[in-house]
């Protein structure tokens, strides 16, 4: 397997030989591998927790062209783990901050900043010029988009994903093994598996998983080692355990199988259920200011905080009864169907599942979702409460 065609290789300068001497001393990389790294074009999707170590290590390793895709701006809450950005970069576009840092680390790298959201409309155009794509995104839509575009373009997708203390890594390369859809044919319903913004993540975890991705990218380019094709690496940072699972190629996979039904990029918002016109009754919402009014009028309400105790401690909601999300169905008897119930979480996503859980067990009372959650209450009603 040779990702980088020999015709693209050129001699290293003496400065490059000095800079990369620790690579050149490895027979597995050597002069030939370093030339391949310099000729290689790698696209990093997302310059967040995973993208940061990916970009830094690939730049240091001498990958000749690094593309970075992001549409986001640096925020203070990113800096706990997104080590490519600094305090002085807050409010700057992430691609600009990443580009500066990469250039500072290694001016020999040609950085291409794609300051845009990757979409079904632009993905093939952006990705077609790259040899390898490293996926460091944060949502299912983009993960399926990156997977499908890589399969259609015939390039490997170096995958990493994190949640709280757990990470996953693999290489999805349909020419030689399974793709992401072979492993997960469809995503979870929106909001069920919380994002890191809701569930939290230990800052070093993306450092470890993103570095594993960088290692896989380098091996693909120099063409050696045992890659993660057909293997899912699981990492648990809290228990400090690695595990390895087998992933088989699915002969019926809709995009990489023998008779694919997906031959071009699709509508990923719809595929992930985000814009799907659902047949379920709509979830009724209440805004923070409306809720404040009802409380001030003395309306009788059942206000339910579905967050876990450690999360409630960050920003307590006055007068709410705590019932963690995972206990709704079995505690349905604690509700009075005659009284409106209002559900709240951090941003108003997980609370929707609490409402669905009660509906599923046949609860007939009125159920309201606090729009944008406790953060909206902190923003619009009680500025003494922190937003987190």
């Amino acid at each position: 397997m040779n990702l980088i065609d020999d015709s693209r290789l050129a001699d290293l300068s003496n400065d490059e030989i000095s800079r990369y001497s620790r690579h050149l001393l490895l027979p597995e990389i050597g002069i030939d591998g370093q030339k391949r790294l310099r000729a290689a074009r790698v696209l990093i999707v997302g310059t967040g927790g995973l993208g940061a170590p990916l970009a830094l290590y690939l730049a240091a390793a001498g990958v000749g062209t690094l593309g970075v895709v992001d549409f986001d701006f640096v925020e203070a809450s990113n800096l706990q783990r997104q080590i490519i950005h600094g305090t002085k970069d807050i409010d700057r576009p992430k691609t600009a901050s990443a580009r500066d840092r990469i250039r500072g680390l290694n001016p020999g790298v040609n950085v291409i900043a794609h300051n845009t959201r990757l979409t079904a409309e632009n993905a093939l155009d952006i990705m077609k010029d790259y040899d390898v794509v490293a996926d460091g995104t944060d949502n299912y839509q983009t993960r399926y988009l990156v997977n499908d575009a890589c399969v259609l373009l015939g390039i490997p997708n170096v995958y990493g994903s994190i949640y709280q203390f757990e990470g996953q890594a693999s290489v999805f390369y349909a020419k030689e093994g399974p793709c992401y859809r072979c492993l997960y044919p469809s995503p979870p319903p929106p909001g069920l598996v919380p994002s890191c913004a809701e569930g939290g993540v230990v800052g070093v975890l993306p450092g470890i998983v993103g570095t594993i991705q960088a290692c896989e990218v380098i091996k693909l380019i120099v063409g050696g080692g045992d890659g993660l094709i057909g293997r899912l690496l699981l990492f648990d940072a809290w228990r400090m355990k690695f595990r390895e699972l087998r992933i088989e190629k699915d002969p019926l996979c809709p995009i990489c199988g023998a008779e694919p039904s997906i031959r071009e990029l699709i509508d990923y918002e719809q595929f992930c259920g985000i814009s799907l016109p659902s047949d379920e009754a709509p979830i009724e919402t209440i805004t923070a200011t409306e809720l404040k009014k009802r409380i001030d009028c003395g309306d009788e309400l059942q206000i339910i905080d579905i967050r876990e105790p450690h999360e409630r401690a960050i920003a307590k909601f006055p007068g709410a009864k705590p019932i963690p999300l995972g206990q709704m169905a079995r505690r349905v008897d604690e509700f009075d169907p005659e009284i409106d119930a209002v559900f709240l979480c951090k941003i108003g996503q997980r609370s929707i599942f609490a409402i669905r859980a009660l509906r599923d067990v046949g609860y007939k009372g009125r159920l309201l979702n606090l729009k944008d959650g406790v953060n909206a209450w902190a923003r619009d009603v009680d500025s003494d409460l922190p937003q987190y």
Binding site: S161, Q164, L183, Y184, P189, G199, R246, E248
Partner: protein
């Protein structure tokens, strides 16, 4: 036959934060169903209306996906461990 179900953090909100649960079952299907009986809040998240497992959760016995063994009919031995491996998406975290 006692088997252990291993629950990833993403789903522990439904299991009172427990990481391992011991259940009885001679097949993967029986064991997972017994697990869902213990924690009814997780049932709708594990199963489609058709009774099939939802495709964002893989179940592994050792290093093999039960999809590639005999699915829910995969036979279990006493002391086996089934691991639930859901899709997680975190990585970059855009602003909400």
């Amino acid at each position: 036959m006692s088997v252990t179900i291993q629950i990833p953090t993403a789903l522990r909100v439904f299991t009172d934060r427990r990481a391992d649960v011991l259940v009885e079952g001679t097949t993967a299907g029986e064991a997972i169903s017994a697990f869902a009986d213990l924690y009814p809040d997780i049932r709708t998240h594990l199963y489609e209306d058709s009774g099939a497992l939802r495709s964002f959760i893989n179940v592994y016995l050792g290093d093999a996906n039960i999809k590639n063994l005999s699915g829910l009919d995969t036979k279990l031995k006493d002391g086996d461990t089934l691991m639930l491996v859901p899709a997680i998406a975190g990585g970059a975290e855009s602003s909400e």
